[in-house]
């Protein structure tokens, strides 16, 4: 056993336990219930691609899975250095899992830097596959190894597999007309082949992928496939790898349905396309490239045949400006960005609040402040989303909880924006954006009906009996104003950021009117219909853990561990941050203690304490990485005992 402690659901590890049998060959095959693998190398080594491919193989095999890509902001950081290390962690299992895992059972280290940067995360007994070709004296010195860790005994507690990956790859490709340097570049595919053999992954998908990725360079495609197969065959034949592992598909963990693997940004993109179809409105995205949101711009740009217009603007402000212009014209308008972009868009978000037009503002949060940590995750934009505008400028805020949930969150954001004629902030983050998990593909008839009615005629009768259109005459239920788009005869009207007279929308500096308008804009948002928060509390606990956004996986995994260990703890997770669910106050007051783990310094806790006068305890981590379940379980245990 490794040092990992886990619930039955997350108990087994990738090392030694499990039923054994002999494969057709001479090698042992062991059955495991879950494994955590981390691929690590230089930023140029193709580790993200390798991880993606292993994930796809694993998804198509039917395991439950969760991934954690982790890479530097530099495209090609200095080779062989610690800051240049890029890694991809994948947790897969024959049962329902929630996180990418705390500690890898297997590390693939492509160079000394990758070993040094990651070995500290490994439990004793973990397997380490190293590319020995890269362990030259110079490369080791570069990262501070004075002696070779492969020989000095420092890795004695691990199961080390020294493999000359580069040499083997070059050897395997000698029939190809490639330079040594070109051949070496396929070493990640060799490693992928080896790991695919070790874990009995299906290989057709990767071969198909390589063929289509390099369709214009068939030689390169063939070389990569050859390297991939060579890696597989190496595992099959070499004596160093005596055992391979089976992890059965997670058939019982999933409800009936058709599944695929999906990342948060892809799910979000699909959610937007689906919202366009369900609302019968053309989708317009105004955006400026920014990590980690750009993939949504890339993805939506591929779907012009859905009537999707994507506009890469000159800056963040123009991105949201163009979206707002399209919203005025009757599009389902979206802008995508990260925290620094939200800061630039703030004035236009305020205008959208004042104009009361539907607009989706998607913030894929990253480490801040300022440029911060572009490729790392954080959830520290909550207060910016809530309050980061001049004047009283309330807007609804929602957050997805898992990568696949980004699909539903996009639809929910669209529902609120269209129903209430308001900008809506959706707070995803880098972990959700790039992480992936299986997703049950919904049937189209399961999707919500988001159709809207544009105003077609006058909505008000003046004292003299004449029929007129008042752009700020509100729906009595939702307090939404009418959406009358250009091209509608007789409804010509002017709107703007200056305070408007209630009803007519004409410019008004009247003090009482301003007071009224400020309050009614607030009342509209406060009145947004959001479902009650559900509490998971099977044992009548005294302590509640409350979360929001991407902490759902780690919190739920920690709660499982605690309950397995006999502790009582209740769990609730917020999708709607503004307005809060109506029952939230009562839920919080029903517990002696409320703990709120966040990847910030306590932003939700601040909101909850201010609104409900509840002495909520904050548990915080802002290191650019998601919480680990083990660490959270310990913190929650202390809260229960404290």
């Amino acid at each position: 056993m490794t040092s990992q402690v886990s619930s039955p659901a997350e108990q087994a590890d990738g090392t030694v336990t499990g039923e054994q049998r002999k494969a057709a060959g001479a090698k042992d095959v062991r059955r495991l219930d879950r494994v955590i693998i981390r691929f690590a190398g230089d930023s140029g080594d193709g580790m993200q691609l390798t991880g993606d491919r292993f994930t796809s193989e694993t998804a198509s095999f039917g395991n439950d899975l969760s991934t954690l890509p982790n890479f530097p902001a530099e495209i090609r950081a200095p080779a062989g250095t610690l800051p240049g290390v890029s890694s991809f962690q994948l947790h897969f299992a024959d049962h329902d899992i929630l996180t990418p895992g705390d500690a890898p059972n297997v590390l693939v280290a492509m160079n000394p830097a990758a070993l040094k940067a990651n070995v500290g995360d490994l439990p004793r007994g973990a397997e380490i596959i190293v590319n020995t070709d890269e362990f030259t004296k110079r490369a080791m010195q570069k990262v501070g190894y004075t002696s070779s860790p492969l020989e000095d005994g420092s890795l004695d507690g691990y199961h080390l597999h020294p493999v000359p990956l580069t040499t083997l790859t070059v050897e395997a490709l000698k029939e190809f007309d490639l330079t040594r340097k070109e051949a070496e570049r396929s070493k990640n595919m060799f490693a992928l082949g080896l790991l695919s053999w070790m874990y009995h992954r299906p290989t057709e998908g990767t071969e198909k992928f390589l063929t289509s990725k390099f369709a214009k360079k068939p030689d390169i495609a063939a070389a990569n496939i050859a390297a991939f197969r060579a890696g597989w065959n190496f595992g099959e034949t070499t004596e160093d790898f005596a055992v391979s592992y089976e992890i059965a598909p997670a058939t019982t963990a999933f409800p009936v349905g058709t599944y695929r693997n999906i990342s948060g940004n892809l799910a979000l993109s699909y959610g937007l396309v689906a919202a366009s179809r369900q609302s019968d409105l053309p989708l317009f995205l105004g955006s400026y490239p920014i990590t980690p949101a750009s993939d949504i711009l890339h993805e939506l740009s591929k779907h012009k045949n859905f009537g999707v217009r994507t506009f890469q603007a000159e800056d963040e402000i123009a991105g949201i400006g163009a979206a707002l212009g399209a919203a005025f014209g009757g599009s389902l308008a979206v802008t995508t960005t990260s925290g620094p972009g939200v800061a630039l868009k703030s004035e236009t978000i305020g205008l959208a609040v004042s104009l009361e037009l539907p607009l989706l503002v998607i913030d894929i949060q990253r480490g801040g402040p300022s440029t911060g940590l572009p490729t790392k995750t954080e959830q520290a934009d909550l207060l910016q989303a809530m309050y980061g505008r001049n004047g009283e400028a309330p807007l609804p805020v929602i957050a997805p909880r898992t990568p696949a949930d980004c699909f539903d969150a996009a639809l929910e954001a669209a529902r609120i924006a269209l129903t209430y004629r308001t900008p809506v902030m959706l707070l995803s983050d880098g972990y959700l954006a790039n992480g992936s998990e299986p997703w049950r593909i919904p049937e189209l008839d399961e999707l919500p009906d988001l159709r809207v009615q544009f105003t077609q005629g006058p909505n008000h009768t003046l004292a003299d009996g004449s029929e007129v259109f008042w752009p700020y005459k509100r729906d009595p239920q939702t307090l939404a104003r009418p959406w009358a788009i250009p091209g509608t005869p007789g409804l010509e009207h002017r709107i703007g950021g200056i305070e408007k007279q209630d009803g007519t929308g004409n410019i008004s500096y009247d003090p009482a009117n301003h007071d009224f308008m400020v309050r009614i804009r607030q009342a509209k948002i406060d009145g947004v219909d959001v479902p009650d928060i559900e509490v998971d509390d099977p044992h009548g606990a005294r302590t509640l853990v409350l979360g929001w956004g991407s902490t759902y996986g780690p919190i739920t995994a920690a709660v499982r561990r605690l309950r397995t260990a006999g502790e009582s703890i209740a769990q609730a997770h917020l999708r709607h941050l503004n307005p809060f669910p109506k029952n939230l106050g009562a839920v919080l007051k029903a517990y002696d203690k409320v703990v709120i783990p966040e990847m910030n310094l306590g932003q939700l806790a601040t909101l909850v304490r201010a609104k409900y006068l509840v002495d909520a305890h904050s548990y915080n981590q802002v290191n650019g990485m998601p919480f680990k379940a083990e660490q959270l379980a310990t913190a929650l245990k202390e809260a229960i005992d404290g």
């Binding site: 179809r277 779907h303 009537g307 000159e314 123009a318 014209g329 250009p486 009207h493």
Partner: protein, 359 residues
């Protein structure tokens, strides 16, 4: 002011996707019920009247016309037009209008902006709208001063301008908006003057007919904070030497009895003003607004002296056809449907690699 009634010709290709008005329109149809709140004597009144007077000529359904503005005195303009309108935020009107125009090709979209709005805080959006060539008509009211914030110098103020924020004189060199627009790849650039309604209307006419972004710089008098800024161009006497009226296909001549003209300096290639004589008459430059290269238009824009305004060209400096952004964006959507078929959401969600869990 006389109210004109004109019937739309309905022949302008650039507006072919915009529905036509069903009935004859008059200037009155374009006046909103809002009280106009500019200072008495402001040049904006004359521009408003000229635009309201010109609109019936286009014969467009007025519900398909949108005016978008930023912030500043001129940006109140949309409130006074009985069309759709948005008074947005400082400098952003070109960006907002770009989203509207590129998603709604059945609209005639006009941007109203000022020298501070377009050239200071919104400079980036202006140049990018021009290079993209979105179907927008941008009316840039240039009064060379900040009016709404009560009289600070603007990015078009002459060097040494004494204002509240520059008691010892402004230091920064001004933009020449026409030069800037030409440098930003604008396909249509014109300049006109608030007080010359006939000229202003003719420029509007040509701009409306232009497919793509049109930038019209309108010299506008702020009688409160910068009164008489364009007097050199308005006073009958001084205007003779100051104003160069450009007409496509006509020799560029001006001054009393057309005694002055523009010629190309053979040594430098630059343009200069000469007194026309029998010897040089044949060398007088003939204005070609449709020239593929913007070089001569740029040289013309540099003739004006930023201090005295002498040799200020007005009229259409450049009008060339090039691909229009919103048309190309729509074409890409059509092409995508031709190539891949109309989007099938179920197929998109399913993607390639799926697996099925059975009950």
């Amino acid at each position: 002011m006389a109210e004109t009634t004109t019937e739309g010709t309905g022949t302008i290709e650039a507006l072919s996707l915009v529905p036509k008005a069903e009935a004859r329109q008059s200037m009155k149809d374009f006046k909103s019920d809002q009280e106009v709140r500019w200072c008495p004597g402001c040049g904006d009144y004359a521009i408003l009247a000229a635009v309201q007077g010109f609109m019936p000529e286009l014969g467009l359904a007025k519900e398909n016309i949108v005016f978008v503005s930023g912030i500043g005195c001129s940006s109140r303009f949309p409130y006074y037009m009985n069309t759709y309108g948005m008074h947005s935020i400082h400098g952003r009107a070109p960006a907002i209008a770009t989203g509207l125009a590129s998603s709604r090709r059945d609209l005639s979209v006009w941007v109203v902006t000022g020298d501070g709005d377009a050239l200071s805080i919104g400079g980036n959006h202006l140049i990018h709208a021009l290079r993209r060539n979105v179907n927008l008509k941008i009316l840039l009211f240039n009064n060379r001063i900040y009016g709404l914030t009560k009289g600070q110098y603007s990015p078009t103020s002459e060097v040494g301008k004494i204002t509240k924020s520059t008691p010892m004189g402004s230091l920064d060199a001004p933009f020449n908006p026409v030069s800037l627009a030409l440098g930003a790849e604008a396909s249509f650039v014109a300049r006109t003057i608030d007080s010359d309604r006939k000229h202003l209307t003719e420029v509007l006419r040509q701009a409306a007919a232009h497919p793509g972004t049109a930038l019209i710089e309108i010299y506008q008098n702020c009688n409160i904070f910068n009164d008489g800024a364009f007097e050199a161009l308005k006073d009958k006497q001084s205007a003779q030497e100051a104003v160069i009226r450009l007409e496509h296909g006509r020799p560029i001549r001006f001054g009393a009895d057309n005694s002055r003209g523009v010629v190309r300096d053979r040594a430098t290639g630059d343009l200069r003003v000469v007194t026309v004589t029998a010897d040089n008459e044949a060398d007088i430059l003939v204005h070609d607004a449709h020239a593929a290269s913007p070089t001569t238009a740029f040289a013309l824009s540099r003739l004006a002296d930023p201090d005295t305004l002498h040799h200020t060209p007005i009229g259409v400096l450049r009008s060339v056809e090039r691909p229009v952004y919103d048309a190309q964006m729509a074409d890409q959507l059509d092409t995508a449907i031709e190539q891949k078929g109309k989007g099938d959401l179920a197929a998109l969600l399913a993607g390639g690699d799926t697996w099925t869990v059975l009950g």
